[in-house]
Symmetry: none
Subunit: 236 residues, 2 copies
DNA sequence: TAGTGGTCTAGACCACATG
DNA sequence: ATGTGGTCTAGACCACTAG
């Protein structure tokens, strides 16, 4: 005999059915937590757990003070178990960026990355204590919003977070690109490996609402020191 | 002024530090919820929210009655648990899998990939018309569910989709891992590049509900022919 | 059987969004 | 000013694991 699923899951399934049946369309308000408590005779905890499930599946979006609405993007077959945007910043928080050099970005390098305009370059190493460096990283920030090098050198957060906070320029979109390359001499030397060693090249472009590239980071992770892992769960 | 983060987040960060510093190693027991409540003077809700964060990051595993342990997957400090399922499948749809060889998988190869049991191996090339091959790909499928080679050779969908459909074995979880490697002679030859050429190595493990690996695919994309791109939008 | 994590209730205060 | 979701407390019972 199967035990019946917990109430918050049954409740989530009811709400989910309202969404997938079209009774609730993208943008529509869901009942508030208190309304759900009353209408289904459950405590707020149970209602919140149900809403959390839908939220993890990206079916709804919740905003304090504003309420809960059906998300625009309809349900994919697979859902991301955790918040994608914050997760991408995880690496920036865990591995410190040891600044080695900075200055105005030269036009040739910018052109190779598809950037035009004035950018400031910050070069350094990603590392964790007592370990060989994980990567050489170069960050280009739009000159108008660039922090002072002394600030970057002591930053606890990522540079993109600093810019968002200090200049109130929200990052709307991040595109990350990964490919294999051979390390050129300069990067290889900094990493303590031979020229030509394979490396995972990761480029992230952070754009604001107008599509302008606020920040671009390029990291070169030598073979064996870094692997990028992502996990996908099938949603129920 | 920055508001301080909620207590459950601070608590999660403390526990996270114990794990990434090595004070708690994979397999070690974490304090129980009640111990955390007592030692940090928080309610059980707060302790549980903290543990939930770590659990979502796959840093710990919790079992009713047994307790909480640090997850085996070591130092995922730099393995980012994020993903976009469409992005993963995009590649399988665009590039056909040209089967070249198949047979029983040998134990040595399986062991290197962390697999045990009977698997069938399918080896081939990923390509698009009139282009040099994008990758050498090897697929291992659990023997009990393996399709006949003749079926694989003409498959329009991915092998994992075939297995799901034919055997009603739903894939519950996919983990994809990417890193840089140097190509060994055999793969380099098939791709028409020199031995030692850098390549992006992509391994995907498809698991069913019980955690068993139904299918594993390994692809080697030589430098310059393939880039993996993912796009993240800010919510809220 | 004792102790764990999973579920659930009934309260409370707060930050924030909207009118 | 009102109401929302976010955080937090202090209880409770249950299903399950392990000694």
């Amino acid at each position: 005999m199967n035990a019946s699923p917990p109430r918050y899951r049954q409740l989530a399934d009811l709400l989910r059915a309202d969404i997938s049946s079209g009774k609730l369309k993208p943008g529509d308000q869901l009942p508030t937590e208190m309304e759900i408590c009353a209408s289904h005779s459950v405590s707020r905890y149970t209602a919140r757990e149900a809403l959390r499930l839908l939220s993890e599946d990206r079916l709804i979006e919740r905003r304090r003070g504003a309420g809960t609405v059906v998300a625009d993007t309809p349900a994919p077959a697979f859902a991301q178990p955790i918040g994608d945007f914050d997760a991408i910043l995880q690496y920036a928080r865990d591995a410190i960026f040891a600044l080695e050099d900075s200055g105005k970005a030269d036009d040739e390098a910018l052109a190779a990355l598809g950037l035009t305009g004035d950018y400031i370059r910050f070069s350094g190493l990603r590392r964790v204590e007592d370990q060989p460096p994980l990567a050489v990283t170069t960050i280009y920030t739009i000159a108008a919003h660039a922090p002072h090098p002394a600030i970057v050198a002591t930053l606890e957060e990522s540079v993109s977070e600093w810019i968002e906070r200090e200049h109130s320029v929200p990052v709307e979109r991040v595109v990350q690109r990964m490919e294999a390359v051979a390390l050129e001499a300069a990067s290889a030397k900094k990493l303590g490996v031979k020229t030509g060693t394979p490396a995972l090249r990761t480029i992230r472009r952070y754009r604001d609402a107008s599509g302008r590239v606020i920040l671009l980071s390029e990291s070169l992770h030598p073979a064996g020191r870094f692997a990028y892992e992502m996990r996908l769960e099938r949603k129920r």
